[in-house]
């Protein structure tokens, strides 16, 4: 019983890691393992313009196939990664990069999260400080034992007068 459950679990784990190997269907020959790795990294990082939430590696659309071919051609021409990326950006815009360059129009994209985190941090600090101050205010305003007794007496008198 335990044995079969374990087997199933192991199968599940193995299956969940198997998907990525199906991504690219074309059979491409590379001279070296390094080239192959480079190609894989490039098509993982470049985005398919047609099917917007997929990279070139995952997409099966015609344009993704063409672009993969183009990446391969440019590699064969001896272009480096930067040149290949800018070649595609010149045609399809920054959109094709899953990791856009850091420049004026992408500042918000890159630094926005940090700014929001910072704002959140400030809010937390302010709220904490204020809470602390409030509780210390209470202490200052608190009455001594005698004063409190006096206060109670006053209140009770008021009530009985009604």
């Amino acid at each position: 019983m335990i044995h079969s459950a374990l087997k199933r679990f192991v199968c599940l784990i193995i299956l969940s890691f198997s998907c990525s190997s199906f991504a690219v269907i074309e059979l491409l020959e590379f001279d070296t393992e390094v080239e192959k790795e480079r190609y894989q990294t490039l098509i993982d990082e470049l985005r398919c313009p047609k099917c917007q939430n997929q990279n070139l590696a995952d997409s099966d659309s015609q344009i993704a196939i063409d672009l993969r071919q183009k990446v391969r051609d440019l590699m064969d021409q001896g272009k480096n990664d930067e040149e290949i990326k800018s070649h595609l950006v010149a045609r399809y815009g920054d959109f094709v990069l899953y990791r856009p360059e850091v420049k004026e129009v992408t500042y918000l994209l890159w630094y926005g999260p940090a700014v929001f985190l910072f704002i959140g941090f400030i809010v937390v600090v302010v709220v904490l400080r204020r809470n602390k101050q409030d509780s210390s205010d209470d202490k200052e305003a608190s009455l001594s034992e005698e004063e409190r007794q006096e206060r109670i007496r006053q209140l009770m008198n008021k009530n009985s007068e009604k």
């Binding site: 313009p49 047609k50 063409d66 672009l67 950006v89 045609r91 399809y92 815009g93 959109f95």
Partner: protein, 174 residues
Amino acid sequence: MRRLALFVPFIIFLLLGFFLFRGLSLDPKELPSALIGKPFPAFAASTLDGKQVSEADLKGEVALVNIWATWCPTCKQEHAYLNKLAREGVKIFGVNYKDETEKAKVWLQQLGNPYEFNVQDEDGMIGLDLGVYGAPETYLLDKNGVVRLKHVGDVNDRVWKEKIQPEFQKWSEL
């Protein structure tokens, strides 16, 4: 100061509302072309009739360049409208994108030919240089062959009147 703080949620609401409202009318499929303001990419190819042409043949007049193929249903849809534009005197060049020459010729015989000429782009590499990601696409070129506007999807009466014609006129008058 306290009073002002009360308005913070309201301001956040307004900001969020603004962005969400903007989002309603944005089409994420519509990519800005990287080629606007740049010359039409260089190419040398033959037309469907076997003539040799290059990007220099597109210059001279404000013109449309239409990317089409026989395998593209939307291209068929817009074809009648392109015929109409051509009859009205709009210069249209075609790029027969990843298509078979014979099929393309039959198509033009049957549906009419609004094009000055059709550049053959069998392997889609001219399309790739243009940043084509789905046919049909239509580009507006000025007299010097500089790309001024890109439209993805079919050209119909509304698109022509609202989007392309104003630019067409603007560049014609220059």
